[in-house]
Symmetry: C2
Subunit: 139 residues, 2 copies
């Protein structure tokens, strides 16, 4: 998760919402990415999406069932859907996503049934980075 935090800091340096992700397989980082939605002008350029694409490219296969994704913020619906297609082995996130809609769906239902999900790793650091970013934005 420390590596994912480094990626989040790289996003921050580009004035992007600071979210980072890494994909780990057998104790080795095989992909790293950070949010680039503003730089690329593309809502699909979340850290997780790029990390999935990059990891699959590295492995030469679409499925990441032996991999763990570490991401600094709880994945959104789009990313959860992508992680389901990738059949990711495990997802470990830092901060919980607090922007809940009243009618929001249970994110856990969106994943592949075999995917293990764990939240709260280095939660304080992950969430502080986001809080600082938004407080600065609000001026």
């Amino acid at each position: 998760m420390k590596q994912a935090l480094k990626e989040a800091e790289a996003a921050l340096a580009k004035d992007e919402i600071p979210i980072g992700a890494v994909v780990v397989m057998k104790d080795q980082v095989i992909a790293r990415a950070h949010n680039l939605t503003e730089s690329l002008n593309d809502v699909t350029a979340h850290a997780e999406m790029q990390a999935i694409t990059s990891a699959a490219d590295y492995l030469g296969g679409k499925y990441l069932d032996e991999c763990t994704l570490y991401v600094t913020l709880e994945p959104c619906v789009m990313c959860a859907g992508a992680l389901a297609w990738a059949q990711i082995g495990s997802v470990v996130y830092g901060a919980k996503d607090m922007r809940k809609r009243k009618d929001s769906v249970d994110l856990k239902k969106l994943y592949h049934p075999k995917t293990k999900i764990e939240g709260g790793l280095l939660e304080e650091e992950c969430s502080q980075l986001l809080k600082d970013f938004f407080e600065k934005k609000r001026g």
Copy 2:
């Protein structure tokens, strides 16, 4: 939708699952794409995802609130999530996605509240293309 079907046929020609999408703004097609998950070895390379990226690139802005996405198959969770981020104006799909899990979520809940959704346009043609593809694969 006929343009989206042409894209689906382009996917078929590459031995991809035949799904196509176009983005229309003020009666003009501003993006077209087809499924490339096998060619790119990337679960995120759905027709809709590429069409969103391409349309935003054309417009120079992330939001597609004045646009309609035509897609030959009902969008999945990932694509619905991406379309929500893009705040797409309308989604019109052809064939209904029949691969329902017992505990599957209500896809309509995943979209932006302002997005209009319509299904069943040229449903027969869209779904026949997919049926033929899978029947041939099963061989």
